[in-house]
């Protein structure tokens, strides 16, 4: 067609004009790592499962969650939720109540009887797991899901480890624990109770195991030398808490002194209260700020009438009374004696000074390395002995249920690769989704939902659960508070705000793509993406 002067195109729409050639910066859809996920010791994809929960797809949420952690109902009660500490939403109003939603999903799964789908293919390999605490249970679950034949040997009469013989019922009801363990056993994991492993090498040989994961925990109470008169009653915290599981409840008397500053000390003092003690006093040599126990645990204990004696050490124990010495912190923050003494009435003293690991089952295993009474493991959770892996409280790490579950999962993946003669390489991690990557304007005001708690009166006389769960509407609300950091939640903003219509909407669940024929690279989409799921990069020119 012939054109008039200065006209180069045929009559038609501007679609012939590919303005994408103007671009010097190019937008791309990206995934960034949400801070909750980055902080989760069990490696949960929290943002991922919350995105199902907020759509009301609770079973899908539970299935996504249990890909990484088989114990959500337990976790939703006892986890110290570092995810919430890291949550970006805390910079807007308050963190998303991840832990509460996790518990809601875990409880719903139990109520509805959801089961794990067993693997269709078996590997033919046999793995021994020693100890049915969270680390052992997690490893057994993941190994079974990977098709391996798992035998779980447990010294005690019931599963759970410190989740049963440490953590009191008022924080973790046992029917919850039993339900989640039963679901793992249903996968075909053989759990043998009252079946302590005392010679690991012999056990492996006899059973014909191809690999082993050790998770025996730390159960030997640490002692401190305290001069004591006759007829004094000095007990161990773990022993006291463990005996709560038996028929005979421990006899602690009317006035109970607990020595230590960790969560175990708080659990013993709260248990003593429930057993009828008039006074439960925790003696701790440092200050509240330095206490290893979590603030919310201390608050709950104080609410129940537990008393605190800060900056004090026990010097002497006599029948009916103890002598404490006042301490003061030096410049480095260490407690130093003052020479001032005080007497407290006490019918019993419970020591909660931490636990050591019983390593006797490892006698004669070549290649192992130890440090501070713990078994050293590599980044793959393997000990110095080939094919023998370890995790949980017996390995050097933070001692929590969540860390133990994470160790179990990690070890299972490495064991799986080891059994195939390969090494497991974890997928590369995305860049962190920081608060600066978000556009907080787009999130509505929505304060956190608080979980209801049991009234104080019932907390000093019963072992009923203290913290209650959320109902469905609360859980949904809480899930919807998630900002979806670093991952598209299909809000249509990019599709809407592009002045050049250069974003193509692919339909529900499919997200969007850029039409680079027309994208001029203005960057409005990236600036207005609420969740930081778009990144601009210089175009190669």
């Amino acid at each position: 067609m012939e054109h008039d002067f200065a006209i180069t195109l045929d009559v038609g729409t501007s679609l012939a004009n590919h303005t994408g050639t103007w671009r010097t910066f190019r937008p791309d859809y990206v995934h960034r790592l949400p801070p909750c996920n980055a902080a989760c010791p069990a490696g949960e994809d929290i943002q991922g499962w919350l995105s199902f929960a907020e759509a009301g797809e609770y079973e899908a949420a539970w299935r996504a969650l249990t890909k990484n952690n088989p114990l959500p109902a337990v976790m939703g009660r006892v986890c110290y939720h570092p995810c919430e500490t890291a949550c970006n939403r805390s910079q807007i109003d308050a963190a998303v109540g991840v832990n509460a939603v996790e518990r809601f999903l875990g409880d719903m799964a139990i109520a509805k009887g959801w089961a794990f789908a067993p693997p269709t293919q078996k590997s033919g390999k046999k793995v021994l797991v020693v100890g049915a605490g969270p680390a052992g249970l997690s490893a057994a679950y993941h190994l079974a899901m990977l098709g391996h034949e798992v035998t779980l040997r447990e010294a005690g009469p019931a599963p759970g480890g410190m989740m049963r013989f440490g953590i009191p019922k008022y924080r973790l009801p046992r029917d919850v624990l039993d339900a989640e363990v039963a679901r793992i056993a249903d996968l075909g994991v053989r759990i043998e109770y009252n079946s302590k492993v005392s010679d690991l090498q012999a056990t492996i040989k006899e059973g014909g195991f191809d690999a082993a994961f050790l998770a025996v925990g730390a159960h030997i109470a640490k002692r401190a030398y305290i001069p004591a008169g006759e007829a004094t009653k000095i007990l161990d915290a773990v022993q006291v808490l463990a005996s709560m599981e038996g028929a005979e409840k421990p006899l602690l008397g009317r006035r109970v002194v607990v020595y230590g500053g960790g969560n175990t000390a708080l659990d013993v003092a709260r248990t003593a209260k429930r057993l009828g003690a008039e006074e439960a006093i925790i003696v701790y040599r440092r200050t509240r700020e330095k206490m290893p126990a979590h603030d919310f645990e201390l608050e709950e204990a104080l609410e129940e009438g537990v008393m605190m004696k800060w900056l004090s050490t026990i010097k002497h124990v006599d029948a009916g009374a103890i002598t404490v010495e006042k301490m003061k912190l030096d410049e480095a923050g260490f407690p130093q004696p003052t020479g001032e003494f005080e007497t407290l009435e006490a019918d019993s003293v419970v020591l909660a000074l931490g636990q050591d690991v019983d390593l006797s089952l490892l006698d004669g295993v070549p290649g192992l390395e130890f440090s501070d009474g713990l078994v050293k493991v590599g980044p793959d959770m393997m000990t110095g002995a080939k094919g023998i892996f370890a995790g949980g409280d017996m390995a050097p790490s933070e001692r929590t249920v969540t860390v133990a579950v994470g160790h179990g999962k990690k070890a299972a993946r490495h064991i799986d690769a080891f059994l195939r003669g390969e090494t497991y390489a974890p997928p590369p991690k995305h860049e962190l989704a920081s608060f600066e990557n978000l556009n907080p304007w787009y999130y509505g005001e929505a304060p956190q939902t608080l979980r209801p708690t049991l009234e104080i009166a019932r907390r000093s006389s019963t072992f009923e659960e203290v913290v209650k769960g959320l109902d469905e509407s609360n859980a949904l609300y809480e899930a919807r508070r998630c900002l979806s950091c670093g991952n598209c939640f299909e809000c249509d903003n990019c599709y809407g705000v592009c002045p050049d219509n250069a974003v193509i909407k692919l339909g529900a669940g499919k997200g969007f793509k850029f039409n680079y024929d027309f994208c001029k690279g203005c960057g409005v989409c990236e600036a207005e993406c609420p969740c930081g799921a778009i990144a601009m990069a210089p175009e190669e020119i």
């Binding site: 501007s14 939640f489 299909e490």
Partner: protein, 339 residues
């Protein structure tokens, strides 16, 4: 659940994430914006020659898509001369996906009146939108506009206010704010930039005409903008909507800040967002997260002379006083920020 959480939850319009976004995967289609729809008409389609991040291109698509939805696509647009005309329709191509007419810089309102009369005579239900820049509206086109208002002609007139004559190289218009640098109000001399105490705010003049509907809006609040356009299309007679559309080129701002600037213009109080019917203001959009005007000004090179050598020019405070007066006059602070 106690009552206080219930009311909090009921207050959330589109759930906690998505109240202010274009769409939301969790709500029904009819609760999403027109722009969220894969079937939106894209009245102003790709390939147009507006600058990167042009607020006017965005505002025009937002408004005309909503008007097309409201009229079942039975719509004709009349355009004044200006960027919107030039970047969409360099002969022989056009970006418009609806019947569209261009005549002159100053006569869009009059041409639209004529088109509306023609449709009436032909017995058609076709509706008419006239659109132009602030120069074409508040300056040269003002006489035609006032006539259209006064006769209550059945036209929705949309002014895309980018606060200057952008198409011809950023000259001052009567909508250019005080202190802003333009090609004709340079940042030179004792009073650099546009002077204080001049200019006009046409939305208020439109209200004074007593026409059925007047509103202001911005590209930063899509749902509000769409609601106003759709409401306007449900009314017969003369209607006027003025949309704040940041211009990266003329304002000296990065292309990615277009929506942010419109948002800040509202949140500081400089650009009041309201609706009026038959001569009375009926509603104003409350400030959600108030900011000092400084936060808005400092992002734009047209105000750079206010922040030279690390000290704020006293005129920043004069601009703040304007914001404060708007807040007072239009009642921009209050509780129903989410409403």
């Amino acid at each position: 659940m106690d009552d206080s959480t219930l009311t909090q939850q009921q207050k959330l319009k589109y759930y906690q994430k998505g109240t202010f976004t274009v769409g939301n995967r969790l709500v029904a289609d009819e609760e999403r914006s027109v722009q969220a729809s894969a079937e939106r008409s894209n009245a102003l389609t790709s390939g147009h020659r507006a600058c990167q991040g042009c607020g006017e291109a965005l505002g025009a698509r937002y408004a005309i898509d909503a008007a097309m939805r409201a009229t079942g696509n039975d719509l004709i647009a009349v355009n004044a001369t200006g960027c919107l005309e030039v970047f969409t329709t360099p002969y022989p191509e056009t970006s418009w996906q609806l019947p569209w007419l261009h005549s002159l810089f100053g006569n869009a309102a009059a041409v639209a009146t004529g088109v509306a009369a023609a449709m009436r005579v032909k017995g058609k239900k076709t509706r008419v939108v006239a659109q132009g820049g602030d120069g074409g509206t508040t300056d040269i086109g003002f006489q035609c506009l006032s006539g259209m208002f006064e006769r209550n002609d059945d036209v929705l007139y949309i002014c895309y206010d980018n606060e200057g004559y952008m198409n011809t190289g950023v000259q001052r218009s009567s909508a250019t704010p005080p202190a802003a640098r333009t090609a004709t109000t340079p940042a030179l001399g004792p009073e650099p930039g546009n002077v204080f105490g001049t200019g006009k705010f046409v939305p208020k003049i439109a209200v004074a005409h007593g026409i059925p509907y007047v509103a202001t809006a911005t590209v930063a609040d899509l749902r509000d903008l769409e609601a106003k356009v759709i409401k306007a299309m449900g009314i017969t007679g003369a209607r006027y909507i003025q949309i704040n559309v940041p211009c990266p080129l003329g304002w000296g701002a990065p292309s990615y800040d277009t929506i942010k600037l419109a948002r800040l213009a509202v949140e500081c109080g400089l650009y009041p967002i309201f609706e009026a019917e038959h001569g009375r203001i009926t509603q104003s959009r409350k400030i959600r997260r108030q900011v000092p005007v400084r936060d808005y000004l400092i992002l734009q090179k047209r105000y750079a002379h206010l922040f030279r050598n690390g000290v704020d020019d006293p005129r920043v405070q004069r601009l703040q006083a304007i914001c404060d007066a708007h807040i007072e006059e239009y009642g921009l602070l209050g509780d129903d920020a989410e409403a």
